[in-house]
């Protein structure tokens, strides 16, 4: 044994390892969001973007973070779902309702320094058809020609009149890209918005920094950090201990009580586009039978279900239309809960002996509702086998791509998605009704009044056919420090619009 006080080889090695770690840690990712100054804001969210390229990567997380904040559109949606000017100060529609003329802002620049002109707008619109890989690109198929009349005037001619096209220009397909800034979309987004991506600490947070020289109203906060939490309890704790200022998406409504009677916080409850759908496979298996589908709808006690699995928060809608769309109508009466009727219809359908495969994704609302749906259906005489499929990978392949399921539960959060889900007979629901598709086509081309009438008829038709069951509409639940202002009450666009946020 040595007693001379000199460090041994062992302690030397430990010291060297620690020193290396300390030095190496200079570059290691930080989640230091504890120091929330007056000029910065930390928002807790759930789904982190896979990358920044929403032209080639699906998912709501990328536009949620970037749209309206980093990328801007010619027109944007406001809180009530109305179309408002953004990069276009005004626009007009020709008499034949095919040509839109947009007047653009003069002083907008991209974060790479390039000036925004009508040529960029033309480039962006045309690029959707040529370079995008998502199915949303078909929303630009209706465009016949795009012409940059002058640097501030853009003319878009459609192949046929389309009410839907201008609305879609408020979504990600309407985002304006720089002709010199699309080289590294996945990692370096370049937009005209008030914020630019400053730092992305993968697996943890994205920091947006206010841009100098932004053409519009300068946002209040110099930096906003979007911090991603997989666990709802961890997000609640982060707000309670001051690590974040806002819970942007409350995923555990049963724990709202922790904030409700506390003057330090405010709870915001609005509406969303997220219809939680009990998807039924209309193409094969027992759910191909209309009477069996109707039996399912009568068997579900929607109020009890929402109370049990989402703490009674949300709205019962009975169709694929949220209240912020102009053609909303309450269709919950079409199949009011009636267990006896469900039993009778199930008998008549001849499907009573068959086992239904309820294959749900591993998402909070789906796992919470899955067992309730199973139990309610079994009480009405159905046989149900519940499977959980890992989300996204396993669920996407099994249910969404291969339609290897009888029933599933998924929140369709895209805006105005009745057409994509039910208007395409190849979609995983396999609903094939030419009458329904004709109504949608007519609605798109008609006047605004005709559009509303036809969309209402379409929503009623798909609901009466029991192509699916609409469990409830997800609420937009946010909790924030009491002094935060300008939070979007309703989540009606694809964006989490940070531009109006402030501190009182």
């Amino acid at each position: 044994m040595r007693h001379d006080g000199r460090p041994t080889r062992g302690t030397g090695a430990v010291a060297a390892t620690l020193a290396c770690l300390l030095l190496a840690s200079c570059s290691a990712g930080s989640t230091a969001t504890g120091s929330t100054g007056k000029n910065s804001l930390n928002i807790g969210l759930t789904a982190e973007p896979a990358n920044f390229d929403f032209t080639r990567t699906e998912g709501a997380a990328i536009p949620q973070a970037l749209l309206y904040n980093v990328y801007e559109t010619l027109v944007k949606l406001d809180q009530s779902g109305k179309i408002r000017p953004q990069l276009a100060t005004s626009w007009s529609l020709s008499k034949d309702r095919r040509t839109y003329t947009f007047h653009l802002v003069k002083n907008a620049t991209f974060s790479n320094g390039a000036r925004f002109t009508a040529e960029d707008a033309k480039f962006s619109i045309e690029r959707v058809t040529t370079d995008w890989t998502l199915v949303q690109k078909t929303q630009m198929d209706v465009v016949d020609a795009v012409r940059a009349v002058s640097p501030t005037e853009l003319e878009v001619t459609l192949k046929r009149p389309s009410n839907d096209w201008l609305y879609r220009m408020t979504t990600r397909v309407g985002a304006m890209f720089s002709r010199t800034g699309v080289g590294k979309l996945a990692t370096e987004p370049v937009g005209t918005g008030p914020y630019a991506v400053k730092n992305w600490n993968r697996g943890d947070s994205i920091t947006l920094a206010r841009r100098h020289g932004y053409w519009g109203r300068t946002p209040h906060f110099a930096s906003v950090t979007l911090k991603y939490f997989k666990d709802p309890t961890a997000m609640n704790n982060a707000l309670l201990t001051g690590t974040i200022n806002v819970i942007g998406q409350m995923q555990s409504p049963e724990s709202l009580y922790r904030f409700q009677n506390n003057s330090k916080y405010k709870v915001i409850e609005g509406t969303t586009n997220g219809e939680v759908v009990l998807s039924l496979n209309n193409g094969s298996g027992p759910m191909k039978n209309r009477k069996a589908r109707q039996a399912v709808r009568y068997a579900i006690d929607h109020k009890a279900l929402m109370d049990t699995c989402w703490a009674g928060r949300g709205k019962l809608i009975g169709s694929m239309v949220p209240p912020t769309d102009p053609w909303y109508q309450n269709l919950t009466d079409l199949y009011r809960y009636d267990r006896d009727k469900a039993k009778k219809l199930l008998e008549e359908s001849g499907e009573a002996g068959r086992t239904l495969r309820l294959r749900i994704p591993t998402l909070p609302y789906a796992t919470a509702c899955g067992t309730v749906v199973k139990s309610q259906l079994e009480q009405a005489g159905f046989k149900v086998k519940l499977d959980q499929l890992e989300f996204p990978a396993a669920w996407l392949t099994t249910v969404f791509k291969n339609a290897d399921y009888d029933m599933s539960i998924i929140g369709h959060v895209e805006p105005r998605d009745m057409q994509t889900v039910f208007g395409n007979e190849k979609s995983y629901i396999r609903y094939d009704n030419p009458e329904f598709r004709a109504l949608l086509a007519k609605a798109d081309q008609g006047t605004r009044e005709q559009q509303i009438t036809d969309m209402r008829a379409a929503a009623r038709l798909v609901s009466k056919d029991a192509a699916a069951d609409w469990l409830f509409l997800l609420p937009n639940l946010m909790v924030a420090d009491e002094d935060i202002t300008g939070l979007p009450v309703n989540s009606v666009s694809e964006s989490l619009d940070l531009t109006g946020l402030g501190r009182s």
Partner: protein, 316 residues
């Protein structure tokens, strides 16, 4: 001695090669298509096929395996399927975070377990020894994530002394770093300490019954001195073995703890990458963990040689 060392290195390399084949094979049979996940619900089949080609997923498995190994050996693991960002820097960042967590957890475990285990052995018939023994049983029964949640509830949400979650590099803000490190490291450390204490106790008890210790005492050494001088070195061999196993458990345990404390370490990266079918990242992370475990076992073999001269003599 040298023959034994060469043998050990040979075993290490062979184990690494076998692990890499196993890791790759498991990833290959995992259901779910990375290209489909990247492009999502609305992508057309042709777009998915195009991306599969871009990822190299349409090539034969052997070619994919060799490409992966080549990337690892040249320290260029390529780009992530999903984020399209280079994987190397990301792995390095995450590994540092996890090493801090596991390292501190291990230090806490040792600092608690070695004196407590010895004390429990020395006083195994006295009430204080029994109380310590009961406490360690409770510690063994508590999973690390539960310890983490309890710590958060009491010290972060209840008392407000420590932040509930997050991570800051030590150079950026050393005080906040320590505050954020304390609870996750304790959650890992306390549970490991409980397990380790049991082994230390049993190893020291065995040593206490040995003849040489009785001889040492007969020569006039006090019990504590006899134990420190002649006993601990002998008790160390089984304890070091358990320590190595514990280190592997800590690495795996950190996956859960990182989720509970929202720490961007290797474990969080692994979970996210599995969910997104970012298989190339999953492969790399699992391989790093496998490498760490094998390397620790290798080092333990070396430590045996240092602790126990009999092993050295036998081989040479």
């Amino acid at each position: 001695m040298i023959v034994r060392l060469v043998q050990r290195i040979g075993i290490l390399l062979a184990s690494l090669a076998v692990s890499s084949v196993l890791v790759f094979a498991f990833m290959a049979v995992l259901p779910g298509d990375p290209a489909r996940v990247a492009l999502g619900t609305s992508a057309s089949d042709s777009a998915v096929a195009q991306l599969r080609e871009q990822f190299g997923l349409d090539r034969p498995l052997v070619a994919q395996y060799l490409h992966w190994i080549h990337g690892l050996l040249t320290f260029d693991p390529g780009n992530s399927y999903i984020s399209q960002a280079p994987i190397g820097p990301q792995l390095a960042d995450r590994l540092q975070v996890t090493l801090w967590l596991v390292g501190t957890g291990m230090v806490i475990a040792c600092v608690l377990a070695l004196p407590m285990g010895t004390l429990m052995a020395v006083r195994h018939r006295k009430p204080s020894g029994l109380v310590l023994s009961a406490l360690s049983q409770v510690g063994v029964a508590i999973p690390a994530f539960l310890a983490g949640i309890l710590l958060i509830t009491v010290f972060a949400v209840g008392l407000g002394w420590l932040p509930a979650n997050g991570w800051t590099p030590p150079v950026q803000d050393p005080v906040l770093f320590l505050k954020q490190l304390l609870m996750p490291a304790l959650s890992l450390g306390i549970v490991q300490a409980a397990v380790l204490t049991r082994y230390v106790r049993s190893a020291v008890l065995d040593v206490l019954r040995e003849d040489y210790l009785r001889t040492a005492r007969a020569k006039g050494l006090r019990p504590t001195r006899a134990l420190l001088r002649h006993g601990l070195r002998n008790a160390a061999v089984p304890v070091v073995t358990v320590l190595a196993l514990q280190l592997a458990t800590l690495l795996v345990g950190s996956v859960v703890i990182e989720r509970v404390f929202v720490i961007p370490g290797l474990g969080s990266l692994l979970l996210d990458s599995v969910a997104n079918r970012d298989l190339i990242v999953v492969q790399d992370v699992v391989m790093i963990i496998a490498m760490a475990v094998l390397l620790v076992n290798f080092l333990v073999d070396l430590v045996y040689l240092l602790i126990d001269p009999r092993l050295r003599g036998g081989a040479s």
